[in-house]
């Protein structure tokens, strides 16, 4: 075997080993807990009235969050990449902040600013709009923590998308609409899909901020992660892990789907999903701000 192949194998073992130890192994421990009573028990655990309500609520809220953040995220990404305006660096730096803010603080901020003690909160109360301790509050918290995903996944792709491609299409006579659909969209689709799917997956797992703003009334405003917490705290680890495993399974399927949909060309892929592969550059596109 060449040193190259040996090296490849070594790297592969390191990667697989690390991922297994850090992620697979611990998750397997959780799965083990949930299937301890057999698969019937697992199904029972996730179909109790409280568990199933929590799961449905979580999926609904996550889906809504994904749609909203996909729209606004795409818009934001386009604006941040394509337009120059005062304060652009500020917005760019803000985008990643939700990653840095402890979810506890996120929850407290949202509860404070929309709560009864602020002008905004009182205004909402007068207008009879319930934001906090109701479903909108849950979506709000999810929106906050998933905000970076779509923007961050789209930005590099948009930046890399050679203006030239679009200009080329124009010069060849294509209308803005055609350019958009036939050139822009296929190139950004992988980035967009990544952002969207990650948003969904992340929203499913959110806990710290939701538990503060949601109200957590079982079968009304209790999401899966809060339900899981309740079960762990009341000595029902099986019920807790079963619901968690269910969420994980959904996430895993979503992520696998994402991987399939965003594979680069040359790997058994539908032709219309294509990364634009620039010619060998002297200065790499990613180095251009």
């Amino acid at each position: 075997m060449t040193t190259h192949t040996l090296l490849q194998l070594a790297l592969r073992s390191a990667a697989v080993g690390y991922v297994s130890l850090l992620i697979l192994f611990p998750l397997a421990a959780i799965a083990h807990q949930s299937f301890i009573g057999g698969i019937d028990h697992f199904i029972e655990d996730i179909s109790t009235p409280q568990a199933s309500s929590a799961l449905v609520l979580t999926l609904e809220a996550a889906f809504l969050t994904t749609v909203i953040n996909a729209l606004f995220g795409t818009l934001s990404a386009i604006v941040l990449v394509r337009y120059e305006f005062p304060g652009r660096w500020f917005l760019n730096a803000l985008v990643d902040l939700p990653f840095a803010i402890p979810t506890l603080v996120t929850g407290l901020m949202i509860a404070a600013i929309y709560g009864p003690t602020t002008i905004l909160g009182m205004w909402l109360q007068e207008g009879n709009i319930t934001l906090l301790y109701a479903k909108p509050g849950i979506v709000l918290a999810m929106l906050f923590v998933t905000m970076p995903f779509t923007i961050r996944s789209l930005q590099p792709v948009l930046m890399e998308l050679e203006r030239e491609h679009e200009e080329a299409a124009f010069s060849l006579g294509a209308s803005p609409w055609t350019t958009f659909w036939k050139v822009t969209v296929p190139s950004v689709l992988p980035g967009l899909l990544t952002g969207v799917f990650l948003t969904f997956v992340r929203a499913l797992g959110e806990f710290g901020s939701i538990v503060i703003v949601a109200g957590n009334i079982p079968m009304k405003t209790q999401v899966a992660s809060v339900y899981v917490y309740g079960e762990i705290e009341s000595y029902n680890p099986q019920g807790a892990t079963s619901v968690s495993v269910f969420i994980l399974l959904i996430s895993f399927l979503v992520l696998v789907l994402l991987e399939r949909l965003t594979r680069p060309p040359g790997e058994r892929m539908p032709r219309w999903f294509r990364w634009s592969k620039p010619p060998l550059p002297m200065i790499h596109p990613s180095e251009i701000g």
Binding site: P49, Q50, S53, A111, A112, G115, P116, T117, G121, L132, Y133, V211, I212, G215, N216, I217, P218, M219, K220, V226, Y229, G230, E231, I232, E233, S234, Y235
Partner: protein, 348 residues
Amino acid sequence: MFVSILVPVLLAWVAFSGSIMAGETKELMLAVYSVPKEAYERTIIPAFQRSWKQRTGQDVRIRSSYGASGAQARAIIGGFDADVAALSLEGDLDQIAKAGLISHDWRTGPHKGMISASVVALGVRKGNPKGIKVWEDLARPGVEVLYPNPKTSGGAMWDVIAIYGAGLKLAEQQAGSGKKPSAESAEVYASGLLKRIQKNVKVMDKSGRESVTTFERGVGDVIVTYENELLPRIKSHRPYEIIVPDETVWIENPAAVIDRHVDQHHVRDVAEAFVSFLHSEEAQAAFAELGFRPIDQADVQASARTSLPLPSQLFTIASLGGWEKISATLFGPRGAWTTIVEDLARGK
């Protein structure tokens, strides 16, 4: 190559940082529930360190952790090597004992192992705009009630037990003097009251403390919580009032030495001294400062110090059949509270 040295070094650093024992100084690890933190940090711990030094000439370093009672119990069972646990519910200590970590009968100590006491009380906004006086007022439409989730909060369990027990007492009263209602009809009334109050709950925080902070943020008209949670806040000039209903439950908080850990760490003497110290005048005074009631109701001196009258229809966990029985009745899978919540969600 550089990496292959760096990574193990990092791992070694991580593994050994903080796990080196001091040696000469004794070290004691406390796991306490969140509410009495101030009493411990400000008064009890320093006072104990002084008294131990005086008695034995030894320095004792005390590490402390404050968190929800149930979470602390679970942490201890999960390997947190606390030497002494001072928790909110006897049920949590029992869990630790069940896991084999406490081998002595902690209930045989002074005051049956309990070190502080309180009652469940109601907090309302200053001026009591909704005119809340008795438990039935919490069931009125338009009144927003706050208490945490009993599944995650020991405090909430006390709260719900107080409501249920109050319901039983009220049923007795309604039956008229001299007549005793049937156990069933009393239970029906109590469950009914609990249901009507739970209906008015829009927010269930995950711990008692968080419930109080939510109340302080302006949410809710009345909060059901420990009296000793409300008293210090009122002392700090928070704009609310406290109402102690006639029918309420007597809360007792236990503390015990964790046998397995004290033997591992060879600190049994310090740990046992610390638990004793919790029963001492000094410690009890510190608790009283924070709004706790004296653990010994017969202790006239202590009672005079706190000047908190005993509610006329006070009841105890024992009168409800003990922790295991009442928690199963209320919070088990077929429990009254569990069913109530599900029924309410279904609109029943």
